[in-house]
């Protein structure tokens, strides 16, 4: 009776056998495991992202607080007149109100990111225990 492809491959594999893990594999791995330290926090958001979000939020707050006051200075008025004179030609509807709406939304988004990050860290601290490789 002619053997099927399935049987032939099976016989070849049984005849040749499988490879074994190299000598010392287990010991090497266990020494790596020993370097694993317990920790109770997995940060799902990168630290850079959090820093950028905080910086953006702080920057917006500073801008919101200082710009109106700065525009009261004469040097600032001349700067606005000389450098950004083109703004005077933009219709009123998209001049100052437009910018304030965008700033307001940016403010809300930044505040949202901060709140989300804080909640995420709080939950991660208590809910996701894990291990970290420190070797």
């Amino acid at each position: 009776m002619k053997k099927s492809e399935k049987d032939i491959i099976k016989e070849w594999i049984e005849y040749t056998g499988a490879e074994s893990a190299p000598v010392g594999f287990s010991e090497k791995l266990m020494s790596r495991i020993e370097l694993e330290k317990d920790y109770t926090y997995i940060n799902p958001i990168s630290r850079t992202f959090i820093l950028i979000a905080i910086l953006a939020f702080t920057g917006l707050v500073i801008l919101a607080l200082t710009l109106p006051r700065a525009s009261e200075y004469t040097w600032m008025k001349s700067v606005i007149e000389n450098i950004s004179g083109f703004l005077t030609r933009i219709p009123d509807s998209i001049q100052i109100p437009g910018i304030s709406i965008i700033a307001r939304y940016l403010f809300y988004i930044s505040a949202g990111i901060i709140v989300f990050t804080l909640i995420d860290r709080f939950l991660a601290k208590f809910l996701i225990p894990g291990k970290r490789y420190t070797g």
Binding site: E5, K6, I8, I9, K10, E11, W12, I13, Y15, T16, G17, A18, E19, S20, A21, P22, F25, S26, K28, L29, M30, R32, I33, E34, E36, P129, G130, K131, R132, Y133
Partner: protein, 193 residues
């Protein structure tokens, strides 16, 4: 079922802080894990690295193992994903050589007996044929034939559908046989296998 119990026993020990119990898990699965990684990546050094990284991943995420599948299936899934990611990241290609590069005489020289030479020659030829397959197909062949996993288990590990696994298995088998028939030295001993 007994294996699952035993695995669970060791997992509970590890989770209770006895990390040395992980060595029992390593001892039990190291050969299968290494073999699967080796068949997918085709290189001993890379296979060892993949196998080590897979076990570390398992150790780190043991707490998330809920027992919905067997521990072995969960472990092989991690090994499979780690291996496939590794070969894609390192752009390890499928073997492009047209002819089997090894002469059977080389095996006669290096082995003590004819049978040993036969076996080594067949092993190398089979390894060569496997390397001519897609990475996913090598994994499926290895899991099915070397580790006796069922179609359902292979589906769970690879994320492929049952029909896809069957088709891939069929095509891979055919291709292996064609490669071996094309390259094998026709001697009575090899035909006896």
């Amino acid at each position: 079922m007994d294996t699952l119990k035993s695995d669970r026993y060791y997992i509970n020990l590890i989770l209770s802080g006895k990390r040395e119990a992980f060595s029992a898990i390593i001892e039990r699965y190291q050969d299968n894990v290494y073999n699967l990684a080796l068949k997918i990546c085709g290189n001993c050094e890379n296979a060892e690295e993949i196998a080590q990284d897979s076990f570390i991943k398992v150790f780190r995420s043991l707490r998330s193992f809920k027992g919905r599948s067997s521990f072995a299936t969960w472990l092989y899934r991690i090994v499979y994903n780690t291996s496939i990611t590794f070969v894609r990241k390192n752009k390890l290609d499928i073997l492009r050589l047209e002819d089997f590069p090894v002469d059977s005489v080389d095996f006669m020289r290096d082995s003590d007996t004819d049978e040993e030479a036969d076996r080594e020659y067949m092993k190398t030829l089979l390894g060569y044929a496997l390397q001519k397959l897609e990475h996913e197909d090598r994994a499926i062949i290895t899991m099915h034939y070397y580790q006796d996993l069922s179609h359902t288990e292979i589906c769970t590990i690879t994320g492929l559908s049952r029909s896809n696994v069957k088709v891939r298995l069929f095509r891979a088998r055919r291709k292996i046989q064609q490669i071996i028939e094309k390259n094998i030295v026709k001697e009575p001993k090899y035909e006896k296998v």
